[in-house]
């Protein structure tokens, strides 16, 4: 498995898309952090950039890369290697460079210009989101038959988590506002990695109450420490579950 990861990494670290992605993130980070003396404001802007860009770029890039590697995966499978190893190696091979791109693009400027616990949290959040959305991309890849459909599903998935989910949550809160649904809402948020990431970050910044219903609820019900642990645990769950599902499906997939 290490061999495959090594060579996929060799391929992807020379990939132009990854380079441009790193560069754009770095430019955004430097310019946003230099705009204002208040580091907390800069972090908030970077959080929004992260929540907007990381999921869509990660899921699209990974899905396309996986579909383009079908013939290569076939070749690997015709070698004496276990199926689960091939698919996991492909995942690590894609997720690691994307996470590294985020780590370098956002992480380096952040730790140089505004080092703080909140900065480290943002970094962890972004990397976790990368791992989650490449894991979802893998699941989409093993489930769909052709590339066009796969990319379509990937776009819908990311729109669902970044836009639709919040809309549905709001509709839910609005229609059941007469009932005590607060803890239910906290539970529902666990089903959206993007919301989880937002909450995790906002709890750190102490602006939870300013940033909408979900943040306020987390603050109120879970407190900072428990809230953070809960959201990190849920985020890790979001990495592992699609990954394990993908391996299971891939083991029975026809190529």
């Amino acid at each position: 498995m290490k061999t495959i990861i090594k060579y996929v990494l060799l391929d992807l670290f020379r990939n132009k898309v990854i380079m441009v992605y790193t560069l754009i993130l770095a430019i955004l980070a430097i310019s946003v952090l230099n705009l204002d003396d208040n580091a907390s404001k800069g972090l908030l802007s970077l959080l929004n950039v992260t929540l907007l860009f990381v999921p869509i770029i990660t899921i699209l890039f990974s899905t396309i890369y996986f579909f383009n590697s079908i013939e290569f995966i076939e070749l690997l499978l015709s070698q004496p290697i276990k199926r689960s190893k091939v698919v996991l190696a492909e995942y690590y091979g894609v997720a690691l460079p994307l996470a590294a791109a985020y780590g370098i693009g956002i992480g380096v400027p952040l730790l140089l210009l505004a080092p703080s616990t909140a900065a480290v949290t943002l970094l962890i959040t972004g990397i976790l989101l990368t791992l989650i959305f490449s894991s979802l991309a893998l699941l989409i890849f093993v489930k769909s038959k052709d590339k066009t459909k796969g990319i379509g599903v990937a776009i819908i998935t990311v729109l669902f988590f970044t836009l639709l989910f919040d809309g549905m949550l709001l509709a839910f809160i609005y229609s059941f506002s007469d009932y005590p649904i607060d803890s239910a809402v906290v539970g529902i948020i666990a089903f959206n990695p993007v919301d989880l990431a937002r909450v995790l970050m906002l709890l750190q910044l102490d602006v939870a109450v300013l940033m909408g219903y979900s943040g306020a609820l987390f603050k109120k019900f879970l407190g900072s420490a428990t809230g953070s642990v809960f959201s990190i645990a849920c985020l890790l769950f979001w990495v592992v579950v699609p990954l394990l599902l993908s391996v299971r499906i891939f083991n029975k997939k026809d190529l």
Binding site: T3, I4, K6, Y7, V8, L10, D11, L12, R14, N15, N68, S69, I70, E71, F72, E74, L75, L76, L77, S78, Q79, P80, I81, K82, R83, K252, K253, D254, L255
Partner: protein, 237 residues
């Protein structure tokens, strides 16, 4: 060497393979023929474990192949389309496959030098033409001198020189007593290579005969005439 027993596979309603039974042994060069969509590639992929059959068994050296993956170390597979990660060089691709099979230390690099890939080894896969990529696939297939070769349209996209070289190589491996399973639409390429013909149609085995038998039955000598005659008359097994 390879035994296929009552192999069945369907994709949705479409039956790609319909209880195929075959017994292939050492020293044979078996040529898989049939119209497009007759199940040739599905059969090859089932043997390689890329496609998981619904019913039937495949045995290699009388060992049933199911979840076991080690058996593939005895097979060299050349796919119809070879695509590799864009930014990998030829050398890296070959090194990677070598590293994936650490049990081999002796490599057959005849084709690597024969095709002149040693001069191109620093080039990235993206910059290669389809034919050159096909040459890389061929090199990888023969690298470990396996006992079984599975070649899916090996000469498609190769220039005449390379195609001749590959055919000579296949001939030598055949003399060495290897089992070779090959599909091709270019019948003249199989002339003098094939010892047996397996003909598939709509997922069913139409016949499995030696070339001599077919020559006698049709009264023709050249392979493409033999096959044309067979297809016209609908010879049954």
């Amino acid at each position: 060497m390879i035994g296929v027993h009552q192999l069945t596979k369907s994709f949705g309603k479409f039956k790609a393979l319909d209880s195929i039974s075959l017994q292939l042994s050492k020293g044979q060069t078996v040529c898989l023929l049939g119209p497009n969509g007759s199940g040739k590639t599905t059969l090859i992929k089932s043997i390689l474990g890329l496609v998981i059959p619904e019913a039937g068994t495949i045995t290699i050296d009388s060992q049933a192949v199911k979840k076991d993956w080690q058996y593939r170390s005895g097979i060299g597979y050349m796919p119809q389309i070879g695509r590799y990660p864009d930014n990998m060089t030829i050398e890296q691709v070959i090194d990677m496959i070598k590293e994936l099979r650490p049990e081999h230390t002796v490599y057959d690099e005849e084709l690597f030098h024969g095709f002149g890939l040693d001069k191109l080894k620093g080039k990235t896969m993206r910059s290669l033409s389809g034919g050159t990529r096909q040459k890389v696939s061929a090199c990888l297939t023969f690298l470990f001198s396996p006992g079984v070769y599975i070649l899916d349209e090996p000469t498609a996209g190769l220039d005449p020189v390379a195609s001749e070289l590959l055919k000579e190589k296949i001939g030598r491996e055949r003399t060495a007593g290897k089992l070779i399973l090959v599909t091709s639409h270019v019948l003249s390429d199989l002339e003098g290579i094939a010892s047996h013909i397996v003909y598939l149609q709509d997922g069913k085995l139409v016949f499995y005969k030696s070339v001599e038998e077919l020559q006698v039955a049709t009264g023709e000598l050249r392979l493409n005439k033999v096959i044309a005659q067979v297809m016209k008359e609908g010879l049954r097994a």
